[in-house]
């Protein structure tokens, strides 16, 4: 058994500490050590995006990040998206457009879509589709997801003016 390492990081704005096996992924640490089970493991190989989180401002697959790499870094997960009981506009629009069925892909898609709108508040539909190409959904056929993202983008732009 390898020696566990003591890790300090910031998750959704809060300082956290945990012990990590050197071989454990950030996804394992979030789910098993920190109890943040919103991020899902669909494939474990970077293909499905269900584990998407934002690490130091970059969208990444947490299944392809080692937990020990998070030392001193900032992590944002789906759990940090709503403000208390107030849903983020993306979450609200996903509900309104029925952009989910089983919901397994939804946390990853929401985190990816948030990263998109943070970087580009006014994406074209094509830009949104390419940005989200690393998030697989086997239920919805993607169309409702794209409509929800475009609608949320429009609403967020309205809120700003």
């Amino acid at each position: 058994m390898s020696k566990r390492q003591h890790i300090s990081a910031t998750v959704n704005g809060d300082p956290v500490e945990f012990l990590a096996e050197p071989g454990a992924t950030l996804l394992d640490a979030l789910r098993d050590d920190l109890g943040l089970t919103g991020s899902k493991e669909g494939c474990g190989s970077g293909d499905c995006g269900a584990c998407s989180v934002i690490l130091d401002g970059r969208l990444v697959c947490s299944c392809l990040v080692l937990a020990v790499e998070a030392e001193g870094r900032r992590v944002e997960t789906i759990e940090g998206m709503a403000e208390g009981s107030k849903l983020h506009p993306l979450q609200q629009k996903f509900l309104e457009h029925a952009a989910l069925q089983c919901g397994f892909c939804t946390p990853g898609l929401l985190v990816s879509a948030k990263a998109l709108l943070d970087a580009n508040p006014d994406p074209t539909e094509t830009e949104a589709r390419y940005w989200l190409a690393g998030n697989l959904c086997r239920c919805t056929g993607y169309d409702k997801i794209i409509r929800a993202v475009m609608d949320a983008a429009a609403e967020l732009r309205q809120e700003k003016v």
């Binding site: 058994m1 390898s2 020696k3 390492q5 096996e21 050197p22 071989g23 454990a24 992924t25 474990g44 190989s45 970077g46 293909d47 995006g49 998407s52 690490l55 970059r58 969208l59 990444v60 697959c61 299944c63 392809l64 990040v65 080692l66 020990v68 790499e69 030392e71 990816s112 990263a115 998109l116 390419y130 940005w131 989200l132 190409a133 690393g134 998030n135």
Partner: protein
């Protein structure tokens, strides 16, 4: 991945020492988008992981005269955000940005793409055509090597024990230069190249090509620097006759395998077509600079 060890040194020399001491199971970690997949699937035995991302020189893009020095572990998305790099080397940037999804771009590096030594690595033909070099650090100090000398066979590199790539350098280039990379995949995103072609051209004031470099991916055990294909362009304006010669020379340079992604015949034919198209794009870009 239970028996792995992990360290994140902050100097290149510490990293080289650790890699040497760790023996054959020691691996540099860039973005982990190949390494962690391979470790998790058990394809690679667990050993010592040496994270390079806390070494300052390994992250970021610096300009040195007209050259660009790119830290080995800089993620692809950082390249796409760098205006000057995109203007000087659009082909290298577009090739790197083809790697995987937005999530993969947040992590994947050119050095990882290169040192994973897949013949289909997307950034490598563009880097080879760009005549890029690697700054390698090892237990005995530093040396420089061409990008095409790194991969020697699928999954195998020429790096000695303890050695790793610290920086990738794109040379200064004259005005009226342009590059381009194209790949063929069965869909538009998230797949591995069946063929890739990188072309880098410099023109004189009259639009005649004075220097050309052509590199082909996924049509041999390593990326191929196709010198005869490049020679077919020099002294021309990339007119139809020159492109036909380029096409034939590119096909002649291919030595592909047949697999589920494409037969050897298909790959060879497509290599000629992509070389032509990439040359036309590179020529148009060079005219505008």
């Amino acid at each position: 991945m239970s028996n792995v060890e992990f360290i994140a040194p902050t100097s290149p020399e510490q990293a080289a020492k650790a890699l040497l001491a760790g023996g054959p199971g020691a691996r540099p970690l860039g973005g982990g988008t190949d390494l962690l997949v391979q470790l998790r699937s058990g394809r690679l035995p667990a050993g010592l992981i040496v994270d390079l991302k806390r070494i300052p020189e390994a992250i970021g893009i610096r300009q040195d005269g007209g050259a660009f020095v790119i830290g080995a572990s800089t993620p692809g998305i950082t390249l796409s955000e760098h205006k000057a790099l995109g203007l000087a080397w659009p082909g290298v940037v577009e090739a790197t940005n083809l790697i995987g999804s937005t999530q993969v771009q947040g992590r994947a590096s050119m050095a990882g793409n290169l040192c994973n030594a897949s013949p289909a690595a997307d950034s490598v033909p563009a880097l080879v055509a760009a005549r890029a070099t690697c700054l390698i650090v090892g237990p005995d100090g530093r040396r420089t090597a061409t990008v095409e000398s790194i991969a020697v066979a699928p999954g195998k590199t020429s790096l000695a024990p303890g050695e790793f790539v610290l920086e990738i350098r794109l040379p200064a280039r004259p005005g009226r230069s342009g590059d381009a990379y194209l790949r063929s995949i069965p869909r538009t995103e998230m797949d591995i190249a069946v063929v890739g072609a990188g072309v880098n051209l410099t023109l004189d004031a009259a639009g005649v090509i004075t220097e050309a470099h052509v590199a082909l991916g996924a049509v041999g055990p390593t990326v191929i620097l196709a010198t005869a294909a490049a020679a077919a362009l020099v002294g021309t304006k990339a007119d139809e006759a020159a492109l036909a010669n380029l096409d034939a020379a590119a096909r002649a340079a291919c030595n592909p395998i047949s697999d589920k992604r494409g037969t050897a015949e298909f790959r060879t034919k497509i290599a000629g077509v992509l070389a032509r198209r990439a040359a036309t794009i590179a020529y148009g870009r060079a005219e505008k600079r």
